[in-house]
Subunit: 156 residues, 2 copies
DNA sequence: CTGAAAGTTGAAGTTCACTTCAACTCAAGG
DNA sequence: CCTTGAGTTGAAGTGAACTTCAACTTTCAG
């Protein structure tokens, strides 16, 4: 009972529902050995993966992208701290970007509250990042591109 | 043609798909007059609403919550800048909170990259906000509760 | 007046991230 | 051995936020 965790234990220790863990497995985000009776037994290192998954979701990254990132971990050996650090660093950039964006949004919103606009015609909140400089007549607003799924993370 | 916008015009000027605008209307987020032939005609002020909606989504607020906020605008008269400012101010708080949270996440992630942990046992990234101080044995991790939809905003 | 472009509707489909369910099987204490 | 709790599966359901479709109807420039 030292190395392998049951799904119940992994769920309890990770705070992630069993159904979600099975779902992650189906998506190839985590792996599990099986007992003779076909029950899942998780290596302790899977805890780390689950942690990474949830943290990444908080940053607003989709499971699909998370899977890609996890795929970049060495498959053969157990990932070292350095391996994890490498993966996390790219997340860090996204986090920075996200924070920067929210900060801008806040400042813009402040400006709009100040000027009472939100008028779309002039407020740069409606034209974020100046990315729509010349897109035909009339102002475009708010969301230039499809958007990013911001995670579904109601971490209250 | 000075006051009323067709759905095509509102869509073009707001960058929001027509189907999305109709959807917003169904949810009670925006309103439209109708022509004799039953076509929608939007008052210019609706542009402001749409802007507010998209901005709010970026902050990670659900359409349902946005609707509630919009409901707090005066129904009878056209909302003044002050009305908008009042609504925006509560958003500003959420923004601040969100930025604070992401900042913490980043710092935690930095710490974890530094120490190579993500080990769930000791890293406080796994125990965000210290909210799980005493929840049985073993560490809990990452996400205390289900999650918020941070906007699925595929505005193409 | 006419034809094309723009608009209307309800119903159904889509994606993401899960959860729920039913019907079983396994594991382990008494 | 037996019961009970934990685990298994595939299929279907959920909710948010839209999009797509088909079958029409309006609007408006020429």
């Amino acid at each position: 009972m030292h190395e392998a965790l049951t799904i119940g234990q992994l769920s309890a220790r990770s705070g992630v529902a069993q159904s979600a863990l099975r779902y992650y497995e189906r998506l190839g985000l985590i792996r599990a050995e099986r007992t003779g009776g076909n029950q899942r037994r998780y290596a302790r290192t899977e805890l780390r993966r689950v942690a990474f998954i949830r943290i990444s979701q908080q940053v607003g990254i989709s499971l699909d992208e998370i899977r890609e990132a996890l795929d970049s971990l060495p498959a053969s050996r157990t990932p070292t701290p350095d391996d994890w650090a490498a993966v996390s660093r790219t997340w860090r950039e996204r986090l920075d970007e996200k924070i920067r964006l929210l900060g801008k949004l806040r400042d813009d919103l402040d400006g709009c509250i100040g000027c009472g606009c939100l008028s779309l015609q002039r407020c740069h909140l409606n034209n974020p990042g100046d990315s729509l400089s010349g897109e035909g007549p009339g102002a475009r607003l708010v969301l230039p591109r499809p958007a990013e799924s911001d995670g579904h993370v109601t971490a209250s």
